[in-house]
């Protein structure tokens, strides 16, 4: 035990995935978001891109100085290797790298890696300890495996849109949640497989689909149906099982009030200067409040909030100890103290943009480690020489030859 303690003191600043090498074949959003989390926590992520072309997200807004902030955000902390893995020589180099790596991550269309002769069955023969991880739309097999799945397709087909929005307006989550959540699940699977590999030496194939991902985050949506036959529908911003628990309009914006208990409700009645409502038989229990929410209670609260500004409401409601929030726009969010205090905006000097930009930092706070970016997202092939020399012991002549043949 004392040895462990001494280790702890010595290495607490070392990021948890230090020493893990990941070959990252992913593009767009889901895969790069997965490997971003691994890179942020110390893994050596080598992003492999098509020579002269690169990840499609290099063409995605917002831009600054002609270079993509989108790419810069999701690929910070990674190294850049350009490599044509369709060519024979490129495949050979890739396989050599596989023999010296822990993880391969890919989010191509299902079957692409196999068609290129780089499927798991091939690569595990080269490196039995390899963790091989994939993201797909609907899984690796079955009727739907070949279908292209954009984020909106997953949100529609796995139930998220049927549970979000107002009235009958089935609404997608604005940001591409099927993409980023499947990336996060894959990162979690990889980290667990790395733990097992550290104990046993063994590698593993694992995969995550975007449809499964959405289906797994619907809270009670699925079980309300499988257990009671109830089919969820969009409920706007209210919680159908707790009242008042909703968004309301203020003079100058929107607030949310969440009365999770009778005591909170009673405090709110006092603030509204209608203390008698707390004992009113229409509103005296949560069940009664839910029953009469849409017809009566919602309007009562809303007509009160409309008489005040967001700041006035915040002062009153927070002072009364009632859970409260304000619906902030992005300019307001970025100015909040809680974003600054948590260091959730990292400044990065991006090599492509050739300037400093602010991007969201890691939400996983490892106490003891530095909470800041280590390096810029790479330009295409920015680290070719370093990677090929240090991992494969190539000479500069060999590297120059590869470049002239457009293999890298």
């Amino acid at each position: 035990m004392s040895t462990e303690y001494s280790n702890q003191d010595q290495n607490i600043t070392e990021k948890p995935l230090t020493g893990v090498r990941i070959l990252d074949l992913t593009h767009a959003y889901s895969g790069p978001f997965c490997t971003m989390h691994l890179a942020d926590q110390g893994a050596e992520v080598i992003k492999i891109e098509v020579p002269g072309k690169g990840d499609q997200s290099r063409n995605w807004a917002p831009f600054k100085n002609g270079s993509s902030g989108y790419y810069a955000y999701f690929n910070r902390n990674k190294q850049g290797l350009s490599l044509d893995i369709k060519s024979e020589e490129g495949k050979k180099i890739f396989k050599s790298l596989v023999s010296k790596s822990d993880v391969v991550v890919e989010n191509f269309r299902v079957g692409t890696m196999e068609r290129r002769g780089l499927g798991y069955d091939v690569l595990k023969e080269i490196n039995p300890g390899l963790i091989y991880a994939s993201i797909s739309g609907f899984g690796l097999e079955g009727d739907m495996a070949a279908r292209p799945a954009y984020d909106i397709v997953s949100q529609a087909m796995a139930g998220m849109m049927s549970m979000t929005g107002f009235g009958n307006q089935k609404t997608k989550v604005g940001p591409a949640i099927a993409d980023n959540y499947s990336g996060t699940y894959l990162a979690l699977g990889i980290a667990m497989a790395l733990y097992q590999k550290s104990k046993t030496g063994m590698g593993r194939r694992l995969d995550v689909s975007m449809a499964d991902t959405i289906f797994s985050i619907l809270e009670a949506g699925v079980i309300e149906y499988t257990i009671n036959g109830y089919v969820a529908r969009p409920e706007g911003n209210r919680d159908p099982g707790i009242s008042p628990f909703d968004s309301y309009e203020a003079k100058d914006g929107q607030v949310v009030i969440a009365c999770g208990t009778d005591a909170f409700w009673s405090s709110l009645c006092d603030l509204m200067e209608k203390p008698e409502l707390a004992k009113d038989p229409r509103f005296n229990t949560n069940e009664n409040r839910c029953e009469n929410y849409l017809t009566e209670l919602q309007g009562m609260v809303d007509s009160w909030t409309r008489q005040h500004t967001v700041d006035e409401l915040e002062k009153m409601i927070v002072d009364a100890g009632i859970p409260f929030g304000k619906t902030l726009t992005m300019d307001q969010v970025c100015e909040q103290n809680f974003i600054k205090e948590r260091n959730m905006l990292w400044s990065i000097h991006d090599n492509g943009i050739d300037d400093d930009i602010l991007v969201p930092g890691t939400p996983i706070k490892m106490h003891g480690c530095e909470d800041k970016p280590m390096r810029s997202a790479p330009k295409i092939g920015e680290d070719n020489s370093e990677v090929l020399k240090s991992i494969l012991n190539m000479t500069q002549d060999e590297i120059d030859s590869l470049r002239s043949k457009k293999i890298i």
Copy 2:
């Protein structure tokens, strides 16, 4: 290398977190979702609940036979220990368990564990290899740390609602995404810390906040502001940068069509029997289509889809190779082949409900491992004897005494 390969063949069925012991003090949704993922992948998760009372989610719908399906879903694969950690004797037992565990997870209000004398500074002295992981609303320090944060508060204050919905209607994601995503991030942090612990023996404090979580999943929302000063707003179901890429009404439901390329758009024009639109100067490039989407193109596509049923559209559009989805309700989702083929509905005999129920399975598919639940969620204190005997070597008399004193 050959040894590793032989390990792989022998242990591929062993779940990756086998042998990891986790003390789970969490309640409600965010924390239990975190530890569910760890338990699903083989960790020994000991869920600690207040004797005679238990997790508040035991009172959450849907119910069957008087018992909560909500609790059953998120606590499968865990063991149940009832323990009054406010009592001196309960603290002592908890600390003994800490000395023989790898991880403690908690999602109490900030400061609760410290007030009880069970903060990280205390527990790391007992077990320097301990990983101590917390979920909070706005982080562990600062102005907002003490504020209660429900899911809707995080969605409002960290920007998600400002980017979701139609028109000016700022909309929350239906399911409690701030809860489940912060739980998933915490699971990822724990898995990475376990990897590091396996290499070094060292433990670590780590934490995730719900506000940081939401802020980190807004895709380009944050960087559009920090890089270009653009403040995102709700865009309905369309992608403002690609057209046509939206939901449309069919005769009998809603579909989504995602023309990510000029070729897809041209194919869609053929299906609509308006091939001339492909070269129309209003629509011949993605930029022009986006420019004229809301005023002209959206209505054209929608008036075509309204003439057909969802099934007719699916046949035509999928055959044409264009990315397509249908907005399904929960009853329809649960019947999809892709849910069955991926084994995304597990049947569990729940001990509380005393019947079989169907709940979503794990979205992280570890090839080689059995993809099914190992056990029911526990009744309160269901595993008291087993846990206290096997880990702390207690006798039955000692256990009976604790029960009579309501310590367990």
